[in-house]
Amino acid sequence: MKSFGGTRVLHGVDLELVPGTVHGLVGENGAGKSTLMKVLTGLERADAGTVRIGGQAVAIRSPKDALAHGISVISQELATVPARTVLENVYLGSWAARCGVVTRRRDRERFERLCERTGFHVDPDAVVGTLPIASQQQVEILRAVDRGPRVVVMDEPTAVLTESETAALLALTRRIADTGACVVLVSHFLEEVLGACDTVTALRDGRHVMTAPTAEQTPATLVRAMVGREVDVLYPDLPPVADDAPLLLEATGLSRGTAVRGVDITVRAGEVVGIAGLVGSGRSEALRLVFGADRADAGEVRVAGREIRMGSPREAMRAGLAMVPESRKDQGLLLSQTARDNVTIASPERTSVLGLRRPARERRLADESVERLDVRAASADGPVWTLSGGNQQKVLFAKWLARRPAVLLVDEPTRGVDVSAKVRIHRLIADVAASGTGVLLVSSEVEEVLGLSHRVLVMRQGRITAELTAAEADHERVLNAAFADREELR
């Protein structure tokens, strides 16, 4: 019933949703699943393409339009008002009212009927914020169902649920479909998709790869459909690492809540270790624990054999760690300051004496570091926000390399940079490793991890599910480990 052609993230994707069915949507990080759903629910607009409902072309410019056309979404980030009751949340914006006066009794009757229909049991008077996550999600589902939707989009709804809650939710998708709606289930759990859906669509690189009845598919065929991203850059050669190269980083038993659960990582001198995994698998979180950016529940980090105090970036830096964080705007750069200031800010030891700045030293250090990365010299004096994404990222690398770290931790080294900057940064990472620095690399691009690492760790739900050498690692094996079967959380 619906089709659209796409943005730059999406390339002419067509999707047909049939009433009364559950439709699975799979693909790896950045394949375009979320963008497609955002277009459908009015959060983003497509550059081209149309949406038709029952043959009629409709314009969806905002979430409100989507709702008016019967399209509701249950997203990973819950959209409830935590301080209000379940009843008020379910009927948020559609309270039964007479002349503007809310009539709670009628809402209550509606609510009971709704619970019967869905088989959920939630106390209407409970304050939403005090409920467990699964119940909060039920509140959202009740709200969506109440609106008599034609399309319900569920984005990774089971990621936060236990096994029995998952079973209940999947059963519900069927019941919603039976009312004549179409449920779109976006999920990383392939078994679930195959079990719950009638049809499944796979995306890769923003392109539609396949739509097929689930009966004909297995997890292996789905993974194969998702693999095979086009190679847009060539990766530099990495010199081999000697087996007896000193261990520069040993992290053992890193844990933080359910995000990271007992992760061990080692990095040798001159070695690039890559961590692959889906969004939410705990790869960035593990990296942040190593650097002390977040507090760990348990675990130990040794740098060159010496144990360091956890939870303090300052300590980690002193021990020889450096981290290029995931988001350069939020975590990395001082946007209104110059490239020079950004490069030298993390190296006070080299640019000041007894707390006094030495401008000449700052300039020398910044110029050295920036030159190495060919950031355009003219821009070193302007605020970094005027630089391109690629140059900003280079400034960030320059900042940390100026410290001459023993181990460089890198999270998403090339997110949002152009191809030439990407090649330059890849080259740089290889050079850094060749000079004897250990590199721990996290990226949501599997190809990048494969192309730049001596050794690949794959994470899934906070654990390492595979460790592969460069020789044995390929896209399919990494994805298989990244999509490994779900297990009970906790």
Binding site: D330, L334, L335, L356, R357, G382, T386
Partner: protein, 335 residues
Amino acid sequence: MTDTTTATSTGSGARAPVRGRRAPVALARDYGILLVIALLVVGLTLTTDTFLTAGNLRNLLDQMVVVGIIACGVTLCIIAGVFDLSTSAILAVSAILGITVTQSAGVAAGMLAAVLAGAALGLLNGLVITGVGVNSFIATLASSIVFRGVAILLTGGSIVYPLADQLTAYRVMTYTTRPLGVTVSTFVLLAVVATTWFLLSSTTYGRSLYAVGGNAEAARLSGIRVERVRVLALVISGTCAGLAGVVLSSRAGSAQASLAEGLELAAIAATVVGGTSILGGEGAVWRAIAGVLILQLFSNGFNLLGWDTTYQQVLTGCLILLAVSVDQVLRRRRR
């Protein structure tokens, strides 16, 4: 700083790719303030006979001292991304403590005690804000009420004076100096300006202030102890307030609990009018002083011209709004 040979050398650098769009607003902020000052000075010189007289200029300087000292401390706080609404209350408590100690231990000890008391109260603010994690705006609003209460408790609601034979010595801030004939208090302001200016532009601590206010998370991940930096900013602000208390009580020869009420807002207003970003991470001491000067020129001008001071309030309010708007526009450009 290579290709900008004309009058548009902005220091912070409006560089090639975006210059066309950014420069006018950035220039308005950087030089608009100086232009306003120049216009006010020229205007007042032409319209009054009294403005450009040594007496009036000395008077103008004297009026800038107390609010100027506070604005310097406040500037450091705002750059670091914290607000200090308790400066005038700290000023009152410090002044009262200063006079009380003077009565028993002499003028020098009393003035020192006042400054230290300011530092201590600033430290208290800092510990509450970083320790408990309360928003600085609310925390210092609350502490300012507490401090005013303490000031009343200390004085029993009455006015305190130094002993009769100490009075001349205690009023040291009003002594005029040769050869310019300005008062000692003017030099206190100069010293505070020089110190905070140096701190901000030439020390690693100054860099940390900008970093913490500009992007606290990036600062933390760069090994900067964000909380310590902010606590110290509040201590400095408290110290400045204590010093301002010494100046004000020395001038009056007395102190009371209601001393300098509302001055905390005047100091913040001056800081913002000078172009220090209310959102943190950008600003300078000279801006604070420029802001103070503009507001004092307003007040001086209305005085000399004999205009209704109600309009002065309206004008001051509009100016603050304008300054904040320019700041917002500049920030939005970067998205």
